[in-house]
């Protein structure tokens, strides 16, 4: 789990580890995951697009189950995400890159995005670096957070970002454990829509929904 480094190791409480472990144990892979050719990218365009869709679905559902918001390809390769140990089949780094790249395109529904600043994106893509896996797009996340604020009647109150993603109050929410950078983005969407405002400086930001 730590190899995926989805969670900031410093802030991960011990209970988190147990929950993710159980999720890992009970996670049911899609049937295609046990089909050996699944791990070879197909040359036939029709088959290939179908295969990429399956991969996209597989990666998203896996990340959702394991609360992964971003993956580092190099680190994730040996995990069950890309390696089926029972079949002893694994997706190669190049193919994994191709899959994630496809997910980041319009064809793939923009379900992934390479992380880093503008200049670093190409580097991350070529080296198989980190990528956000959008099992929810930032717009969707913004909606989810807004709904939560609505549901808990916290409109108008100022929430710290820590409260949103790390506190016990949101433990049952999907966005619990979300990385700060992604959260900033999601809240950015809300700000743009004029539904929220971000205060404060680096490291101690607060957000207010209205």
């Amino acid at each position: 789990m730590t190899s995926i480094s989805s969670l900031p190791a410093s802030s991960a409480p011990s209970t988190t580890t147990t929950t993710t472990t159980t999720a890992q144990d009970t996670y049911i892979f899609s049937p295609i995951y046990s089909f050996p050719p699944f791990f070879t990218l197909q040359p036939n365009p029709i088959t290939r697009s179908s295969q990429l869709q399956s991969w996209s679905a597989h990666i998203q559902s896996y990340c959702r189950a394991h609360r992964l918001f971003s993956i580092s390809l190099i680190d994730a390769l040996p995990t069950p995400l890309f390696t089926n140990a029972t079949l002893s089949r694994a997706l190669s780094l190049r193919d994994a890159k191709a899959v994630v790249h496809w997910m980041s395109t319009k064809d793939g529904g923009n379900r992934a995005e390479w992380t880093g600043r503008k200049g670093d994106v190409e580097a991350a893509e070529t080296e198989g670096g980190r990528a956000w896996i959008y099992w929810r797009r930032p717009e969707e996340w913004a909606q989810v957070i807004e709904d939560w604020v609505d549901r808990t009647g916290q409109r108008g109150t100022v929430l710290t970002l820590y409260e949103v993603t790390e506190s016990d109050a949101t433990r049952r929410e999907e966005f619990w454990g979300m990385e700060g950078e992604l959260l900033q983005r999601c809240l950015g969407v809300c700000v743009k829509k004029g539904k929220a405002q971000i205060f404060g400086g680096e490291g101690s930001e607060g957000v207010k929904f209205f």
Binding site: F35, P37, Q42, I46, T47, Q51, S54, Q60, S61
Partner: protein
């Protein structure tokens, strides 16, 4: 009946009779009956064989094709052409036997009416090799002079003195009064001497099967009439004629008994070579050869009868002597005798070429035997090489460049194309079947050239051109190009869909057997992946073909691949078949 229905092969070439060989082919030929063009027979190919002159129509080959048996040809004429009139070769039919007396007015025919009669029985004995040859059918002792063309001896190839033939013909005519007596038979028996006591020419009584001396006309045992060797020969000749199929008769006035002559009009040249070869064929008269007596079997003094030829009496005489030696010594003795026999056979055959021609059959059999013995040592004799060793039998129907007239490359290629298609679809050889219905063009080229026995090899360029013509000529095979550029040959009825279906059926079968005890995936659902080698083995394809077929199926989306350490495996395409699970958002 001068014109005969013609049987065509799958490739729309005349199907040849046994022993018949193709001599010449020319395209753009039309037919005339007398002075008039025959409708619907105006554009086709003329095939000259050792037995027949055939016309195969270009547009309607199955309907409008006729053959003229050269044995029915009385006379031939050549017209060189003038301005717009094409060169023509005219064939005049022999007067029909029952009409022979009533057709003395046949214009320009030099032979008087009774002439055909002596031809039936007359033989002249070659003064050099003492082979008894038939007197030409149109030879008339009364009209013969120095310029009368005489056929050379069939065995030694030397032309006889005219007087010799005239004597023979007259003797035959005078001998005809007692028809039971086979004329000149003594010479025939002299020509086939035998050192051993039995005569290979002995006449078997049709009633009691007693072997009579050939000069007898009635059986010694039962007194029944014996067939004379000459009439045997006639029977054989008639059999050739009868071999044609009783297909529907031509519905044109062609069937008329009153065909005066048939003209072949050569619109695109080739008439000179055709005429030249026609004349040769008429002189050689291969259709008579079939009934020629076999050449005497050389017997060494040690008396080792070749199994196939030993007569019963011979065998019993030899048996005790042979049985004395048993075991390894006996085997060695037998090997020695066999070799001695072979030596004598080869020695006598190569003494002169004519003799070789007549004993060709034995020599070919011997050569094949040697070839099979040589093959025995090497393990690598596949189906294809076994096929190639049948080369001698494959020689029968080949198109070579010198058979074709007017030097036209396209005719050669199209003939080669037909030739190939015929050879491929020949069920007795089953070349395509052995290769799983598909083989690469390169393999085919190799096998084909080997089958030609090292003569008249086809150049790769011509071969490819010929293969590319299959589509144009609507032949039952087709050339197919895979994506990688590999050219393969397969039957026309074999489509990609059928191949894919058979592949899928096979993969479906694999669902029922566990690939390996420790298989981790759900093989009952997914089956297993197959390599090109496995497919090649299963379907009898070559590996290259199997790879291409599998990739073709992949291309169509029926299969998908798995790249593993041990190469590419192909699976049923579950990637497409399984529904994509959309993540519930």
């Amino acid at each position: 009946m001068f014109l005969h229905q013609l049987d065509l092969t799958t490739a729309l070439r005349p199907s040849l009779l046994p022993e018949e060989t193709l001599l010449f082919v020319q395209d753009a030929v039309g037919l005339y009956e007398g002075k008039f063009k025959i409708p619907q027979y105006q554009n086709g190919q003329a095939y000259l064989t050792s037995h027949r002159a055939c016309y195969v129509d270009h547009s309607e080959p199955r309907r409008n094709s006729v053959a003229i048996h050269l044995k029915d040809v009385e006379r031939h004429d050549f017209y060189a052409g003038f301005l717009k009139s094409s060169p023509k070769i005219t064939l005049y039919p022999k007067p029909l036997k029952q009409l022979s007396s009533s057709t003395p007015d046949r214009s320009g025919s030099p032979a008087p009416a009774p002439a055909p009669a002596p031809s039936v029985s007359a033989t002249w004995v070659c003064p050099i090799c003492s082979f008894s040859n038939p007197v030409p059918s149109n030879f008339d002792p009364a009209a013969a002079n120095v310029r009368t063309p005489l056929p050379p001896c069939l065995a030694c190839g030397i032309k006889p003195p005219l007087i010799h033939v005239v004597k023979a013909a007259i003797a035959a005519i005078s001998n005809r009064q007692p028809p039971e007596l086979p004329p000149k038979y003594d010479e025939t028996s002299v020509s086939a001497p035998s050192k051993s006591g039995t005569n290979p020419n002995s006449l078997v009584c049709p009633r009691c099967t007693f072997q009579n001396h050939p000069s007898l006309t009635t059986c010694e045992m039962c007194g029944g009439a014996l067939p004379s060797p000459v009439s045997k020969r006639l029977e054989a000749a008639q059999e050739i004629g009868r071999a044609e199929s009783p297909g529907p008769s031509l519905s044109t006035p062609l069937k008329d008994m009153a065909i005066e002559s048939i003209k072949f009009s050569f619109r695109c040249g080739g008439e000179k070579i055709f005429y030249e070869r026609l004349k040769n064929a008429l002189v050689q008269r291969k259709w008579l050869l079939q009934s020629a007596p076999p050449i005497p079997k050389p017997r060494p003094a040690s008396g080792t009868p070749d199994d196939g030829f030993s007569t019963p009496t011979d065998a019993t005489a030899q048996d005790p002597a042979r049985n004395k030696v048993v075991g390894i010594a006996g085997l060695e003795r037998r090997g020695l005798e066999q070799r001695k026999n072979n030596e004598v056979m080869i020695g006598s055959s190569f003494e002169d070429l004519e003799a070789l021609m007549t004993s060709a059959k034995e020599i070919i059999a011997l050569a094949e035997q040697f070839a099979s013995q040589a093959n025995l040592g090497t393990n690598g004799n596949s189906e294809a090489s076994a096929l190639a060793s049948q080369s001698a039998s494959a020689l029968g129907l080949v198109t070579t460049k010198d058979m074709l007239g007017s030097g036209s490359e396209s005719l050669y290629v199209s003939e080669l194309s037909r030739n190939l298609a015929e050879w491929l679809t020949d069920d007795t050889r089953g070349i395509l079947k052995k290769e799983g219905g598909i083989m690469t063009l390169v393999d085919l080229w190799a096998v084909f050239n080997r089958a030609r026995g090292g003569v008249e090899l086809v150049s790769p360029a011509d071969f490819e051109k010929a293969a590319r013509m299959w589509d144009k000529l609507k032949l039952p095979v087709r050339l197919r190009q895979f994506k990688s550029g590999l050219l393969v040959v397969q039957g026309r009825d074999r489509t990609d869909e059928k191949t894919i279906a058979s592949l899928l059926v096979w993969l479906e079968m694999l669902h029922t057997e566990a690939p390996a005890p420790d298989t981790q995936w759900d093989w009952e659902q997914y089956g297993r992946g197959v390599t090109a080698q496995e497919a090649a083995e299963w379907f009898g394809w070559s590996v290259g073909v199997a790879t291409e077929e599998l990739e073709m199926a992949e291309e169509s989306g029926a299969l998908c691949r798995e790249q593993g350490l041990d190469g590419v495996r192909f699976w049923e395409n579950w990637l497409v078949r399984l529904p994509v699970e959309t993540s519930a958002t």
